[in-house]
Symmetry: D2
Subunit: 342 residues, 4 copies
């Protein structure tokens, strides 16, 4: 059994790790740590876990974390970079669900995230945990930078096009929509039910922190800089991300075949048949990216529709997928649930 610790178990990514890991056949959760709610039974904070775990919240700096095989950080940005080095030095593997180790250009990271990086040396060693791109590196990694939710949906949708070199890279457009759980569990006015329900709006149009992450990922696969306009929107639903991606084709190509080939061996990417439309509920609560590729009116604009559950393939599920790869067990272990419908 893999001994697992979770830091920041009281947010949505944390409770989702708990939900999935309590059902994982090869995992024993030994420690849940947090800066608040210390001593509180985990099952009291999250009614869905009642009867499923007897763990209580420990201090964020609990020594028990050092006895784990792997520690997940489901904490706000800037926390993992403080605590991870000590764990890594002790031989504990670390998977950070926040953004601390995602951007290779530390100066760029510091600009977007508005703080000084605490351990730039680990940024270099960190492996960006998108298995569909980095599976081999993940296998050997000690520190995983788990991708953001939007970056997962957007990169997976653009990758076949960018890798094949069949689109103009200067004017990519990613119009993305997220359920409200993407904004976290900290109470703020704009995500109150009465504010977010029966409403739709964009946000972060001037510049969202996931923009440099997506650009870096696409540029690496394209071997060239990419020009990307990224506009996120808030949808009155709990879970789910839908990315609608637009690019101008520069070559004639069988798009359906291109996408199917690219993801033929990927257990968690499902390319729908030609003409199909993915919907967010079809991946609700599961670790899966579903996508479809369209070419409206046979013009020169390709449209990719890509959906994930922001808390699973966009966060905790992908983190567990990375753990499975790192520990050499079945990549799909603990991640095979069927989504509920309706």
């Amino acid at each position: 059994m893999i001994k697992v610790g979770i830091v920041g178990g009281t947010g949505y990514a944390g409770v989702e790790l708990l939900r999935l890991l309590t059902q994982h056949p090869h995992v024993e959760i030994t420690t849940v740590a947090s800066r608040s709610d210390i001593g509180v039974p985990v099952a009291e904070m999250f009614p869905n876990l009642r009867g499923r775990t007897s763990l209580r919240v420990e201090e964020a700096g609990s020594e028990n974390l050092l006895k784990c095989d792997v520690v997940f950080f489901a904490t706000p940005n800037g926390v993992a970079m403080q605590q991870a080095p000590q764990l890594l030095a002790a031989g504990v593997r670390v998977i950070d669900l926040a953004a601390d180790f995602r951007i290779k250009d530390v100066a760029d990271w510091e600009r977007w995230y508005g703080m000084k990086h605490a351990c730039p040396e680990w940024v270099e060693q960190a492996v960006y945990g998108l298995p569909e791109v980095n599976r081999e590196a993940i296998r050997a990694a000690r520190l995983i930078a788990n991708p953001g939710c939007y970056p997962t949906a957007v990169q997976l949708g653009f990758l076949p096009l960018v890798e094949a070199g069949v689109v103009n890279l200067d004017h990519l457009v990613a119009d993305a929509k997220s359920g409200v759980s993407g904004a976290g569990r900290k109470p703020e006015t704009h995500i109150l039910f009465s504010e977010a329900a029966d409403n739709f709006k964009a946000y972060g149009v001037g510049g969202h922190r996931h923009l440099p992450e997506i650009r870096q990922g696409l540029a690496m696969r394209a071997g060239a800089a990419v020009g990307l306009t990224f506009v996120p929107h808030l949808v009155p639903m709990i879970r789910g991300i839908h990315a609608t991606l637009y690019a101008r084709l520069t070559a004639d190509v069988d798009l359906q075949a291109l996408f199917e080939r690219r993801y033929a061996n990927e257990p968690f990417v499902d390319v729908l048949p030609a003409g199909a439309i993915p919907e967010t509920r079809s991946v609700r609560t599961v670790n899966l990216c579903r996508m479809a590729v369209h070419r409206p009116q046979d013009g020169d604009t390709v449209v990719v529709l890509s959906v994930i559950d922001n808390l699973v393939k966009g966060a905790s599920g992908q983190a567990i997928q990375n753990m499975n790869i790192m520990f050499g067990i079945e990549e799909t272990a603990g991640l095979c649930q069927v989504p509920p419908l309706p």
Copy 2:
């Protein structure tokens, strides 16, 4: 492996059976039959099942049903009573998720359901599939009348009081609330998103078909007739039933202890600690009834709050629980998921 057939696989109870049974360790689904969509791959109708089953819809009268160990009817009222006798005669066990075999008084059934019963002789033999009351009879049953969703939540909430004889039976009140999936998947105006969202209303105040079913169940345990006012309401949510139950106490009793004792050995009933409040999402997608018992202002009125997922403990999950009991396997097999939150 238990060979399972499903008739009526294209409604919500049907797809929920499919979701749960495709993950059941001791089941092989061999046939999905329906009056419509014949030949269509099941996974095309329900995107959540894509990649999880290669079954196609067969005709409702498919001979393959005769080769099953058990057949579930997830059909409208009045269908199972036509088809079940032939299957039963062939030694196939039958679990009807509709109301055909729930009411022992056939004349009463015919009045409430507005049709002539096709096989009154089987009504007598049918076992009402509420395991918390009838476990032993279920073990030996050939035909199960799976309880309705409201009746499950309401009976489980009232049972400890009624069995202990500590409340006035003449004026029980069950104020019940259901998510919209309880109304099924057949398109009707009042359950359109634009009609049901951001709205709340009662329905069936004059008399709902679940009323005689609840009355029969409570009377049987009370050993006397019960006077029940039952008012269902429609909640703008997808899944979930919340029953708020009111009764007048006729004896001084430790209510918390009474409820805990009654359900101490029940794997799918969870009595919350004193003072707690259950919420429907805490049982979303799982086979569980959570309840709490209150006595406001220490008066003589007891209030029970009881929640289930209408499609699971209120339909398909309970049907599988019954199957597990009938076939002598672990009662919880295939029914141990952790509900997602949020």
Copy 3:
């Protein structure tokens, strides 16, 4: 023109007063005051008011309030009792939308609201602003205690029965359901979209502050104490209250006629035809209580269904109705909108 001031213009009752009063033919809003956001244009905080008012938020203690004809307090409990005496002394009429002046028994108020009352002498003089009961007193009032949202829906539904003396007063049950806006605009975890959407639960079962208010109002009309069990619930919708009321009949009476007669001359109470079902959306955004009375199975239990918009007839609309009465203008002035549907 009536010169109006609003204290606490930044919550939902405040913005609703602004929405309705900017369209009122006989009103000029001169001052919007608050403890926060001072100097901010009102139209910036509430996008619906953009282009409709150029007012900026003034300090809560602004002297401009003394120049008003009437001041509405849309503040948390405990604020109006501090500020109202000075305004009243200056001849300004006051309408408090909070609870400071609702409960005549000051000791009882202090117990339920957990604070010392600042001006008990004004409690006695305050008129409880339920026009359907107190219209004449309101006409002459200097200080109005505007009723709570639940108390409005519950009292209006029970009044015909209680006044006519046709029900047992010992065991009234009010099962009430409210949209999330009833919990206000202050960010708290349990009213986040991701927590409240697709969910249903009771709250305050042990004792809600609206209980003594309802009991007082009913007792006054009954001329006797009443035994009431009141259980509020949270509905995943923005606006609306639905009260389902249960009482035992002690006399044979034509319920439909009783209700129609009681409210025959009330502009803002609509008794639906026999057998009808009110829904909350039918009163969304308007100052109206719709209700229906049922007697299921012709038994001895009467069921009343009563719906209001918690922010209008349950708060700001009723406050304006009271203002209209106090100033001798048409009671319906500014309150005749048609609700949107869907």
Copy 4:
């Protein structure tokens, strides 16, 4: 008073016309006609209209329509073209809220709408009722083709750019999102609450009927053909359209000034301050288009965010605005409500 008839008063556009017109100071509704529900009181079908109108539904071909000054068709596509010629011949003015007269190229219309046009001669005479473009022509029109909901939001957002000639016309992208009421009130599975709630998906990616309408409108103002990719999506909310528009800038221009100037005198278009974000609820139930223009990272891509209520500025409100213009009364008459919030 303008005598108004409505054909198709039983869908959402119809009830919205009724809501707005019953409050219009210069209108008397004399006839509501439909192919179904004949004889039913309008107020029974739509609870929001109870007490506001005593009209009953008349036959679709009612002679009373000939006595109207203007008749609105809130009917499915293909109905108005059958009935309008007779009314027009009798001197009745006609406003069609469906698509029958929107596309000038009749062959193109017949291809997209899959039927033969019944009166091509009237297509030519019809005026496209987008007042921000065609106000003078509307004033003199006998027959108005009221714009579609998406076309209103998309055209208003693109117009300043297209008219000024500052964007590349070959690769416009309109990523549009609509509330479910846009799909109408006819019961269909995919718009059931349980299917559409807590879900997000695109539709019509291969080609939506609003595409040729938008292209025609933009091309007319650009004086050249436009290449447009239009992808609509379904949002789990009742009302509202949000169009996110992308275009490549070909000239350096003060975008904020351009947009403010373009709409300076438009009563129903509100250009938000630089950096602002419109949300659909800010125009809920009112006849208003709110928009903001952004230029992320000061790059060469302009992003316009444009929101309307699909049933008001996207349908019935705009139709009334057109009527006001046609009859020479104040353009804003009956259209000045303040949207409710929350």
